[in-house]
Every structure is written in C-alpha cells, then in structure tokens.
C-alpha cells in the first residue's frame, strides 16, 4: 500500500522543470513537500492529480501503475487535490461547489434540500461548520473559499489528499481546524501530501518532509532530525542567519492619517497614523475586514464614513502603493508578459511624449527582476501566468516599488512565498522603511506580524481592537485582542 513516483520528468514548452523526481508516501502519514518558489511543487501536484501529464516516469499505487490522464482518473483512484489557486465557481452556491458532479437525487432530479443538508454535514465534519452552504461562493472571503475548496476534496473519502499551500490564507482558529482535520484523516489511514512554505507548521504536522530544489528531491527527512534552519538551507542552498531584521529607530513625521474611516457591513471607525520609517502590522482573523479597510483607504472602494483617497489614481499620486491579497484577481494581468505587468503602474509617468519609453521600461524592469530575484531570471518576456505562485507575487511587488511610493500597504504580501524569499522581502521592507517609507503590513501570520513590524494593530469584526508594540508582545496578547 504505497504511492510511488519514480523518476518523474516534466517539461513545459520543452523546458524541463522536474528532473527525475522519485518519492513515495504511505497510507496514514503526512508527507510534507517544501521548496523554494518555482522549485516544482505545484507541478508535481498537478501530475499527482491528473491535471498535467508527466513527460516521463511512473506513478504507481500499491505496485500497479496509474495512468492518470484526467482529474477524473485521479478521483477514480481516490486521489483528491486542493490546488494552490482558488477555483470555486463564484456564481454558484457553496453546496453546488461542494457536490458538483454528485448530487443527491430524487426521481432523477436533484434534491436541493438534501443537497444542502449533505453540504452542511460535509462542512461540519471538516470543521468548517461556520460556513452557510446556501451562500454564493463569490460572497465568501478568500479564507472561507479556501475552506470550501478543502471540504470539496472530502466529498468521497479520499485515499490520498493533496493540499497545495492550504494554509496560505488561513489563520488562527481556521488554521487549527485544518490541522485537526488533517490529523483525523491521517488516523483514518489517508495519505496526506502537504505543500507549505510555513516551516513551523510543517515541522508540527508532517511525518516525513521531502525538500525539492530546482525540480529535484534534495532530501527526505523527518521533523525529528531537522529544523527550520536546516530546511531553509536545503531549500535555498544558503544559510539564513536570521529571518527578521533589527527593529528600526523611532519613526519620523506622519505620512498617512486615517480618521474614523468606515464602510457599512465591512469595517467601522478605523483611525490610524503611519509615520515615516515605521512598519505597522495589521492583524486580524479572517473576515475581520482588513482587506476591505485597505482597499477603502487606497480609494478602490468608497468610504461611507470618514475620508480616504477618491481613487487609486489619487492614492498613487500621493505616493501610496498597495499590494492586494488576490494576486490573480487584482494583482496581475495574467495574459500579459512580466514586463507589461511590472510596467503597468509607470507607463504614463515615464512616457516620452505620447509614447512609452521602452528602453527605460526595459531597464527598470530587469533591474526589478534582479533586485527581487524573480525566477526564471530572464522572465521579462514570458507570460506572467507561466511563473510560479511566489514569483508572481514578486512581480506584483515590483510593479508597486517602481512607483517610488512613500506609503506602502501590503495585504498578505508573503502569502505563497518561500522562506528565503520572505526573508528577502522582510529585508526589502526594512530597507524601504529605513529610507523613510511608511509600511502597513496586513498579515494573518502571527510570527511575521510580530517579527517584521514595529507595532501591531489588531482588527476585530471591522474595528480596531487594540495596539501593541511588536517588541516584547506575545502571540497570545495579539490573538486575545483579535478574538471577540
């Protein structure tokens, strides 16, 4: 009873990204896969789930080979996958997204009441009972959509459950619910393949850990015989003496002041000031309204009380930049090249007369690719859709840094970003702050929110529920303010 990948190769458009991966997993274990952005984790998983065919190699269960050609084949063999990118049908109800393809029927017709009951039960069993199965998926926050994605994989008890960065958008209680679920499944003999950049949770959860680097398995180990530092060294090929930079000296003059900002049904009476040279963390549970608050400040949505920028245009003119949490939805133009995506914000400001200044665009873009270490390093002309998740995130960041912002709002900027790169990002934010920028770092990652910032604001149900200096504050202190 073993799932075996033997000598798996995979090429996109003739370029090999997996160079002979050999890996196995046993029922009733949690196999974690870690690796830098672009290492090939998602690709491996696409192969496991029949989404993308392998170029060569074998995938076998219990000795006999599974020729997976479609996701359907994978399902047939009890292999269920939660992919990195959210993929619910927004217009349909949670119930329908969950049961798609196998509805309860009466007289050949779908029995909706029964369907809703079944969905509610599924969500409950998965530990996500707080979600109303009748709501349209589009109405759910990113985090809750992720929960639905996970519940989807449990419609029929899987033999193998593959999770590609499921925790990226989860925090607090939701994250605990997920871990509990994974442990339950393991105890029922399910093989759980778990991809994550959050090494702490990997070490806490996994039975075995496979480290992938540049399309090869460079090590398989167990939490017992390794630690974060060691893993990072394996992934990045370099040691990271420390993750978070030193605290910055006391802040300078105020750059952005928000006073009693509110938006009906989302957040209310939020007042804060961002000063030059400081990094302010904004923590909150999912659904607490941080994203909505940020969008409103930036002028992407209209405030109902208080004043913010009239439009993103005005915000940018005033030197404000915002990295949104939804990369595909509002961060990138997936059909366009990396160059166009990075240039988007500066086309007009750098134009020569009526024309784009192409030479200047080229120069600044390759400078950014260099500076942020976006891989592959010659990606400027590639469709951004062909980059790995983490590298796409860097492209978004690059786009905003080019506007030379004085205030930088980052909504979950390290979501899906590997440890080494996170460290780079923390360093970069730190450097920016030291150069006199004010940074608002929205994050659901407690350690990050305490480690990388000077002070932490906590949001609860759309209201600011407290402020703490990051130095010396404990995760418990932050959490208790975040939980109603």
């Amino acid at each position: 009873m073993t799932l075996r990948l033997r000598d798996v190769h995979k090429s996109y458009a003739g370029v090999e990204v997996l160079h002979g991966v050999t890996l196995h997993g046993e029922p009733g274990e949690v196999l974690a896969i870690v690796g830098a952005n672009g290492a090939g984790k998602s690709t491996l998983i696409k192969i496991l789930s029949g989404v993308a065919p392998m170029s060569s190699g074998t995938l076998s269960w219990d000795g006999d080979e599974l020729g997976l050609r479609t996701p359907h084949d994978a399902h047939a063999h009890g292999i269920r996958t939660v992919h990195q990118e959210l993929s619910l049908v927004p217009e349909l109800s949670v119930t329908e997204n969950l049961l798609m393809g196998n509805f309860p029927r009466r007289l050949g017709l779908i029995d909706w009441p029964a369907a809703h009951r079944r969905a509610a039960q599924l969500l409950h069993e998965a530990g996500f009972g707080m979600i109303d199965p009748r709501v349209k998926a589009a109405r759910l926050s990113v985090a809750r959509q992720q929960m639905v994605e996970i519940a989807k994989a449990l419609v029929s008890e899987p033999r193998v459950l593959v999770l590609d960065e499921p925790s990226a958008v989860l925090a607090g209680a939701d994250l605990d619910a997920l871990f509990a679920l994974i442990r339950r499944l393991r105890s029922r003999g399910v093989l759980v393949v778990y991809v994550s950049h959050r090494l702490a949770e990997v070490l806490e959860l996994a039975d075995r850990i496979a480290v992938i680097k540049d399309g090869r398995v460079v090590a398989t180990t167990t939490p017992g015989e390794t630690g974060e530092g060691a893993l990072i060294r394996l992934m990045a090929g370099r040691a990271l003496d420390r993750i978070y930079p030193d605290r910055r000296p006391g802040p300078g003059e105020p750059l952005l002041r928000v006073d009693g900002l509110g938006r009906t049904g989302e957040f209310d009476g939020v007042t804060l000031t961002l000063r030059a040279g400081e990094i302010v963390g904004l923590f909150g549970l999912v659904g607490s309204g941080r994203t909505e608050f940020a969008a409103c400040v930036f002028g992407a949505t209209r405030a109902t009380t208080g004043t913010a920028f009239r439009s993103p245009r005005h915000a940018i003119r005033a030197g404000v930049a915002m990295v949104t949490e939804d990369r595909a939805g509002s961060g990138l133009v997936l059909g366009m090249t990396v160059r166009d995506n990075i240039g988007l914000t500066t086309w007009r400001s750098t134009a020569r007369g009526p024309f784009l200044d192409r030479t200047r665009q080229r120069a600044s873009v390759s400078a950014m690719i260099e500076r942020l270490g976006i891989r592959p390093d010659h990606c400027a002309g590639m469709p951004v859709a062909h980059l790995s998740g983490g590298n796409q995130q860097k492209v978004v960041l690059a786009k905003w840094l080019l506007t030379g912002p004085r205030v930088l709002i980052l909504d979950e900027p390290t979501r899906g970003v590997d440890m080494a790169t996170r460290v780079d990002i923390y360093r970069m934010i730190d450097r920016l702050a030291r150069d006199g920028l004010a940074v608002l770092l929205i994050s659901s990652d407690l350690t990050e929110v305490l480690g990388a910032t000077d002070r932490v604001l906590v949001m609860r149900q759309g209201r600011l529920a407290g402020e703490l200096p990051s130095a010396g504050a404990t995760e418990e202190q932050v959490l208790e303010r975040a939980i109603a």
């Binding site: 789930s49 989404v51 479609t70 996701p71 359907h72 399902h75 996958t81 992919h83 993929s87 619910l88 049908v89 927004p90 217009e91 349909l92 329908e96 997204n97 798609m100 393809g101 509805f103 029927r105 050949g108 017709l109 779908i110 909706w112 707080m130 109303d132 009748r134 709501v135 349209k136 589009a138 109405r139 989807k152 049904g265």
Partner: protein
C-alpha cells in the same frame, strides 16, 4: 453572515420583483392606452408572436450559460423550414408531414452538434464558429431550394394554426420547452454542469465532469430549438423561404440578457429569458398598436432595451459589471 446571505437573497428577489412589475406595468399601460390591446384577437396574436423568439431564446440561453453564443440560429430556422417543406412537397416522393418535420428538427440538432464540436473539441471561439455556420447554413438553405416552397397539403398549416381551447398549439409547445428546459437547468446534473461551465470551466473539469460533452449538448439544444422554431414558423406562414430568419439571433440574445443572463456565462434563468421574450413581444405589439412609424419603432426599441437592462444591471456585482462582453 446569515443576514448577509439573506440580504443577497433579498437583493435578487427585489430585482425579480422589479422585473415582474416592469412587465406588469407594460401590460397595464398597454391595456389602458390602447382599446385593442385586451381584445381576444390581440392576446392570441401575442401568444403566437412570442413563439419563434421564445424557442430561440431558450436555446440561446443554454449556450449563453456556458459562456458561449449561437449566431447561427436564424439560418438554421430557414434551413429546417425549407427542408421540411421540400420533403412534404416533394412531387410524389413527399414524406408524411410529421416525418418531414422530424427531419427538419434533426437537421437543426445536427448543425448544433457541429458547432458544439468545433467549440468544445477544437476550442474555437463560439462567436466565430457560429458566425461561420450562420453563413454556411444560410448558403445551404438556398442550395437546397432557391425558390420558396409552399406545400400544397393544407395539413401543413395545422401545426401553426391549431388551437387547444383558447391557446394556440405552438404557444403551448413553446411553454413546454421553457417548462421542461427550466427543470433541466435547475434540477438535473447536466443542467447544473452547463451553468457551472459558464462560471468556471476549469473548475468543472477538475471536478471530473466532461466539459466537452456538456458544451456539445448545449449547442445541440440550441440547434434543436432553432429547428423546431423553423418548422413552426413555416407551418405558421404557410410557405418556406430560404431567406427567412435573418437577424433572429439578435432578438433571442436580447431576450436572454433582458432576462438577466450574463454573456460571460454562468448567470441566467429560463424564467428570466421568458420574461425577456415577453418584454420584446409586448414592445413590438405596443408600438404597432400605437401605430408608431416603422423607423421610429426601431429607434425606440433600442432605447427601451437599454432602459430595461439598466434595471437588470442592479443584479450584477460591480466586478462583473466591468466592461466585458
């Protein structure tokens, strides 16, 4: 969150009510301002006049739900009609009327299948595929018979003229299509899959559902409706003309959108589309009853359509609303 859901539900409901009120309003206005509106004859006319657009609109709706579009329906109407009439008329070799009609409808389904395969199997843009078949099928209709065909057999007019009690048979047929079709979309797995495909084809594929087969099915349904409309139209007019049906697709599409369907797929309902058909037919009927001069009718029709979808718009979430077809 429940409250939110309710609010959402509540919101949709308000729009549907608004839409129903709109139609009611149209009727009231008509009834009060034109003495001839509520006459038995006129009501019967309305019932008959909504049949062609109605049938085409339902077929179109199914395709639109997948995120596609079917521009070829007008040509298919002509083809099905002329072939059927030809087979009945066929000197001596004339088929029995029902058989001939079956063949006509089958032809419609066949063209639908071709469209569907080109879209699903080869991933071509539905707009262009059906634009091409609009041209080709129209050509074939003329190739089959350049001259109009009026079957001698008076029985050929039965389908188009028969009344069941106070209701024209053809109207009941159309209502049946909407009824059965509505259930198909709302209560059967293939129906739901078609809607889901319009929302996010990739997700449906990942759910292990055969997207291609469902796409083909959708276009076949549209072809079926067009074929049916073709034979009904022919039997109603009494003569089949290869040039009939030009631009029929436009009214069908308008009806769907007026009924709240989104041309990017995933949103729309049989109920809505039927409402859309009512609105269009009422507008035409009214403008005629008022004796509005033909060209002004066109001017007004366009403006009214805009006005109506402005009401509908409130249903779209902002994001969706952003300038996409």
């Amino acid at each position: 969150m429940t409250t939110l859901a309710v609010r959402i539900k509540g919101r949709d409901v308000t729009v549907e009510i608004a839409f129903t009120l709109l139609i009611a309003a149209l009727i009231v206005v008509a009834a009060t301002t034109s003495e001839s509106f509520l006459t038995a004859t006129n009501i019967t006319n309305l019932l008959k006049q909504m049949v062609t657009t109605g049938l085409l609109a339902f077929g179109m709706l199914v395709v639109i739900l997948t995120g596609g579009i079917d521009l070829s329906v007008g040509s298919v109407v002509a083809f099905a009609g002329i072939v059927t009439a030809g087979l009945v008329h066929g000197s001596g070799s004339g088929l029995p009327i029902p058989v001939a009609m079956l063949v006509g409808v089958a032809g419609g389904v066949a063209f639908g299948a071709v469209n569907g395969v080109l879209v699903a199997r080869f991933g071509l843009a539905p707009f262009v595929v059906t634009l091409a078949s609009l041209t080709t099928v129209r050509g074939l209709a003329f190739v089959y018979s350049e001259v109009p065909i009026a079957p001698a057999d008076p029985g050929f007019l039965t389908l188009g003229s028969a009344m069941i009690g106070p209701f024209p048979l053809i109207t009941l047929i159309m209502l049946a299509v909407f009824g059965i079709g509505g259930v198909f979309l709302a209560r059967t797995p293939p129906g739901r899959s078609i809607i889901a495909i319009g929302g996010n084809a990739e997700t449906v594929r990942l759910a292990g559902i055969d997207v291609r087969r469902h796409l083909v099915l959708a276009y076949c349904i549209s072809g079926f409706c067009a074929g049916l409309a073709g034979i009904i139209l022919t039997s109603r007019v009494g003569i089949a003309q290869p040039s009939v049906g030009v631009a029929f697709e436009l009214d069908a599409i308008a009806a769907c959108v007026i009924g709240g369907a989104s041309l990017s797929g995933g949103r729309g309902s049989a109920k809505g589309a039927f409402g859309g058909v009512l609105v269009l037919v009422l507008i035409n009927n009214l403008l005629n009853l008022y004796g509005v001069q033909s060209f002004w009718q066109q001017v007004l029709k366009g403006l009214i359509i805009i006005a109506v979808i402005l009401v509908q718009r409130s249903r779209l979430p902002r994001s969706v609303a952003k300038g996409r077809a």
